[in-house]
């Protein structure tokens, strides 16, 4: 399961960021959200949501796996906050976000992604 992004449909409303930080952190703060919209409000107005692509082979974990080969990849996948900044640096897709020494990573809300519920234009959808 992963969240599929259709950039052309993103309206830039930012409700995905609101609901993500709200459901995981109990506050509203785009910096503490695992989805981010790169805004283009004075360009072509094409806004770009960025979120974890749920890669089968997680490049973001390579460094940590090197240090600790017994790291449980599936357990890491389920975590919303990662303590290792290196993972943010290694992601090739801007799919996770660093803020105050923590990395915010989409864990698919235990199978019920909240961001998809408020994306009324359908820029975010769930695919297997």
């Amino acid at each position: 399961m992963k969240i599929k992004v259709d950039e052309k449909k993103c309206t830039g409303c930012g409700l995905c960021e609101v609901i993500c930080s709200l459901s995981h952190m109990g506050i509203v703060d785009r910096n503490q959200s695992a989805i981010r919209i790169i805004m283009d409000d004075l360009g072509d107005s094409i806004h770009k949501p960025r979120v974890c692509r749920q890669c089968i082979k997680m490049k973001c974990l390579e460094d940590d796996l090197g240090k600790n080969p017994s790291l449980n990849v599936e357990e890491e996948r389920k975590k919303f906050i990662w303590e290792s900044i290196k993972r943010y640096e290694l992601c090739p897709f801007e799919g996770c976000f660093a803020y105050n020494d923590k990395v915010y990573h989409c864990n698919l809300c235990d199978g019920e992604p909240q961001c998809v519920k408020v994306c009324t234009q359908g820029a975010l959808t769930i695919t297997e």
Partner: protein, 620 residues
């Protein structure tokens, strides 16, 4: 917490900045935005305040839920366009960004000697030089500021040349098309030598009950998006209204000469924008996403931007006899860049074109062939207005231009409380007509437009909703005062929360309502106002705005419509023969004042002020 956002007072004469708490009591009485603004504007300006003088105050107030769900703010000051209440609402991305700086309201006083802009970067407030930005249009200004701050995410409110040159109907712009358009707030910026306001914010919001707030957002969004109205807006944007107006005979063609143009309107209806649009975009926190983005080649060169709204299409389309959608996009884009309000701008241009047609003014005076649909002449005149050159300098004064024109010109000028008539003609829709006449900021459809009355609701359902007999049709007078009162009060409250008109009860009774807002407010902030208390809060705001204009001398005699509405029946089309009956109109007014608790002259009664807790304002 949203309720801990602070108030900044910035004195541009002394270059001093002062920050203070906004008390919980103020929040419970006025919430934020429009409500909190009038509570301050009333006390900080007076009858002798010159709208363009340094003693006018410019108040920027964010809705209480900005940054969380939706995000709009009101800019209020004494109006240079009317001389009375100035107040204009704007969406886009600035309002939520300002909320993230921790600031809820900004009061700007005095006047800077040189052009400046104000930068609010979380806790740092800086008054920065803006001489190098003076003269730039609104897009150039925003791009330049982002470049010099090396911050592509900075959100900006700014004026264009029209505001700088004190055009009385100058707007304040943000992004491509978000505009605080009406009542000339751009000219107040200009009068203070204030080019822009910049927000860079990254503060998190603590939430009173996160789980309840999350559930409420999801439930309200789901409910809202189920309405046909929100679905249609998300597809066509507000231009879909043009079709309705034309079909029912309430659009203004050539400055109210006709109210419907049949199939000719198709060239500027919403579907005509499809050729240019590349998708839809939203304001911050809004699930409805009602504006087009477009990026297309045209006979005017590249057309790039967002919108336009129905009001802009109609103001620079049918109002000026221009049925070319490319020309509409082109002209509206110019207004947005120059910082000219499209509604008032289209209205004053419509008046000028009428005078030209009737031979009251001629090419010798105007320097231009001001014929209906002459796009080239209209474009040139817009630049002349913004720069206050030649005939543009006269027209830049809005209704006050009449003093500089032949006496007969006044006869054709249509306005209410010194604010131009709009792009619609309300002779057939009686609730619309009453709402224009009573709006506290002068001629304005957004204070109360009872859009619900013209869509196809069963009348018994409407009677239940408004708890009154609202007649069998929008063409009747029955119950319209009740409808106008309902929306005036509701809208005043909604503007203080920061939610958009298009998402709240406006054209659908199933959109966001009192109950939804009570839940959103409570779960987000802990403010436990009941729907009934929210209603009273809306009445408090509206009555205080009324008290403000009463202090300026406004009375029943001013709650009226242009003579054209009373004396000239619609000549043809679906509204043929309709006009506003004077006796029926007066009856509506009587009922309307009664509902607000104002006397027969439109002055709020003492007991109303006591009931609303507004006694402190009555002695001013």
């Amino acid at each position: 917490m949203p309720i801990t956002r602070k108030r900044l007072t910035i004195d541009l004469t002394e270059k001093k900045v002062f920050c203070e708490e906004i008390s919980l009591n103020e929040r419970r009485r006025f919430l934020g935005g429009r409500g909190l603004n009038i509570s301050k504007l009333f006390k900080m300006t007076h009858q002798n305040t010159d709208p363009l003088g340094p003693d006018n105050v410019l108040i920027i107030g964010g809705g209480l839920l900005n940054g969380l769900y939706f995000g709009r703010l009101n800019i209020s000051a004494k109006s240079p366009e009317s001389g009375y209440l100035g107040d204009s609402n704007i969406g886009g991305y600035f309002p939520s960004e300002l909320a993230r700086t921790g600031i809820g309201q900004i009061i700007i006083t005095g006047k800077s000697k040189d052009p400046v802009y104000i930068l609010i970067n979380n806790n740092n407030v800086e008054i920065r030089k803006a001489s190098h930005l003076w003269g730039l249009d609104t897009y150039e200004t925003q791009i330049k500021i982002r470049e010099e701050l090396k911050c592509p995410d900075a959100k900006i409110l700014c004026i264009g040349p029209a505001g700088e040159n004190l055009v009385r109907f100058a707007s304040v712009a943000s992004g491509y098309k978000s505009m605080a358009g009406r009542t000339g707030m751009g000219a107040v910026f200009g009068s203070k030598n204030l080019k822009a306001l910049v927000a860079i914010g990254s503060k998190p919001f603590q939430i009173f009950d996160p789980s309840m707030f999350q559930k409420t957002i999801i439930a309200v969004t789901e409910k809202l998006m189920k309405t046909g109205w929100a679905k249609a807006l998300g597809r066509f944007g507000s231009p879909l209204l043009l079709h309705y107006a034309n079909e029912k005979g309430f659009l203004s063609y050539r400055y109210h000469q006709k109210t419907s143009i049949g199939r000719d309107a198709e060239s500027i209806e919403a579907e005509a924008l499809d050729k240019y649009a590349t998708g839809m975009v939203a304001c911050s926190g809004c699930p409805v996403h009602c504006r087009h983005r477009y990026n297309s080649d045209s006979k005017f060169g590249m057309l790039k931007g967002e919108g336009p709204e129905y009001a802009s299409v109609s103001s620079f389309g049918n109002q000026l006899g221009n049925l070319d959608i490319e020309a509409v996009l082109h002209l509206v884009g110019i207004c947005n860049r120059l910082g000219i309000d499209t509604i008032s701008g289209g209205g004053y241009l419509g008046w000028a074109l009428t005078l030209y047609e009737k031979g009251i003014i001629d090419e010798k005076l105007t320097g231009l062939k001001l014929e209906w649909g002459n796009v080239d002449a209209i474009e040139k005149l817009l630049y002349k207005i913004a720069k206050r050159e030649d005939f543009g300098d006269i027209l830049a004064d809005g209704v006050f231009a009449a003093k500089k024109l032949p006496e007969e010109a006044k006869k054709y000028l249509m306005h209410i409380k010194n604010i131009s008539i709009e792009m619609t003609d309300e002779r057939v829709v009686k609730a619309f007509a009453l709402g224009l006449a009573t709006s506290t900021r002068g001629c304005c459809h957004m204070r109360s437009r009872v859009s619900i009355d013209v869509v196809q609701y069963p009348r018994e359902l409407l009677a239940k909703f408004y708890e009154a007999d609202v007649g069998q049709s929008y063409k009747e007078y029955t119950g319209k005062s009740k409808m106008v009162h309902w929306h005036e009060v509701f809208n005043a409250m909604v503007d203080s929360v920061g939610i958009c008109r298009f998402a709240s009860v406006f054209s659908s009774i199933n959109a966001i309502d009192y109950e939804d807002i009570a839940k959103l407010l409570y779960s987000a902030t802990g403010i436990d106002l009941t729907p009934l208390e929210l209603k009273e809060l809306g009445e408090r705001i509206y009555t205080l705005e009324r008290l403000y204009i009463v202090r300026e001398g406004i009375r029943r005699k001013d709650d009226t419509l242009p003579d054209h509405y009373f004396d000239v029946p619609v000549p043809d089309g679906p509204a043929k023969g309709h006009f506003i009956d004077r006796a029926e109109f007066e009856k509506m007014l009587d009922e309307y004042y009664e509902l607000h608790g104002w006397d027969k002259n439109g002055v709020p009664k003492k007991e109303t002020l006591v009931k609303l807790g507004l006694e402190e304002y009555s002695e001013n």
